[in-house]
Symmetry: C5
Subunit: 86 residues, 5 copies
C-alpha cells in the first residue's frame, strides 16, 4: 500500500454506474502525484492515509463490484511531513 | 484512479474481438504521457476525466469480457489546467 | 492501453507451457522501453499497435489460460512518429 | 517480487475491515520509496525481505479476503547494503 | 512481459507457505533494477529471460496458488548486451 495525504473532494457529473454513489477524494503521494481514490471510511483534507491499489481496491471499497483501482484503507495516526517526504 | 485529459479518438483497423465495438480515446496524463482508454460514457476532446485501471477497467467498461486495462470512469466538473499540472 | 511500435519477433527455446505456441513480439513504447507481447492478430515490424496489460492481456490473447501480461489489442491506422513521440 | 528493508511498524486508527487485525510495516525499496505492507511472518526493523504485490499479495497474507496489495513473502538471509543498492 | 537477465539465486529462511518450495532468482532489468522471480524452467546466471508479471505470474509458476507476482516465462535464444541496453 502507499502512503498519501488527502487533498480535497472530487466532484464528477457523469460517472460509470458502480462509482455513482461513492465518495471520491484527490490524494497526493510523497512525490506530489495526484490520484483519485474511493474513501469508504471518511477522511478529511490533510489526513495521512494508506491507499490500497489494484484488484484489492474493489474489496476494500466494501463491494467487489465497485470499479475502483485505488481505495483508502486506513488513517495513519502518527505520520509527519518530515517522515512523509523522506 | 488517475486524472487525465481527453486528446482525440483512436482509429484502429484490426482489433481483438472484445474491443471491436468499443469507443477508444487517447488521453494524456499530467506528465504528458498518452494512454488509450475505453470510453463508456461519451467524452469529448478537452474533457478532464478519471481513468480506472487494471482489472476494474473491464467492469467499468460495462462488461467484464471487454479486454481493456484502462477505462474512463467519470468526467470531472471543476478541474483546471493549473490544478492539473500541480 | 499503451501505444507501442513493433520492433521484431522474439525467439525463445524453453518456455512455460501456455506460451509455447504463441507468437511473441518485441515492442517499443514511446519512452524507448522494450516489452515482450503476445500477438494474436498478426503484426509486422514498424506497425503502431495498442497493447493491453495486466489480467486483461490473457483474455485478449484468446484464452485466459495464456500466461501473458501484455498482448497486442489492435493496429493503429493513422499514427505517426511525430505524434508518438509527443 | 521486490527486495525491501523493513523500517518500522505502522499504527492506524480507522481501517477497512479486512486489514483491521493485520500487522502492518513500513518498508523501504532500494530507491528509498516507502511502502506499507502486511507482514504475515513476523519481521523486525532492518530485515531485508521480499515483497509480493498485486493480487498475489492477498493470498500471501494468508486469506484472499485481506485487502492488501503488498505483502511480505520471506526474509532474505544473505543480503547486504552494498548489494541492495546496486 | 519484460526482458531481464538472471543474476543469482536467492536464499530465504522464513517464507510464506506457497513460496516455500519454489526456486527463486534475482533478475536485473535493462535499467539495472533487481527483481525476485519464481523460476519454473531452470535458468542459470547470465541467461536472458522473459518475465511474466501480475496475476499471470501465478499460473506461469505452474500452480495458481503460488503467491508470486513475477515468474520466468522463457529463455531468450538470441539476445545480446547491446540490444538489451538499447
Amino acid at each position: 500500500m502507499q502512503i498519501s495525504r488527502v487533498v480535497r473532494d472530487l466532484v464528477t457529473t457523469k460517472r460509470v454506474f458502480w462509482l455513482a454513489s461513492k465518495s471520491l477524494r484527490v490524494v497526493e503521494d510523497p512525490a506530489g502525484n495526484l490520484d483519485v481514490v474511493v474513501d469508504p471510511i471518511g477522511t478529511k483534507p490533510g489526513d495521512y492515509v494508506i491507499t490500497i491499489g489494484y484488484s484489492a481496491a474493489r474489496a476494500a471499497a466494501g463491494n467487489p463490484n465497485i470499479t475502483t483501482d485505488l481505495t483508502i484503507g486506513g488513517i495513519i495516526d502518527d505520520w509527519s511531513e518530515e517522515r512523509w517526504r523522506d
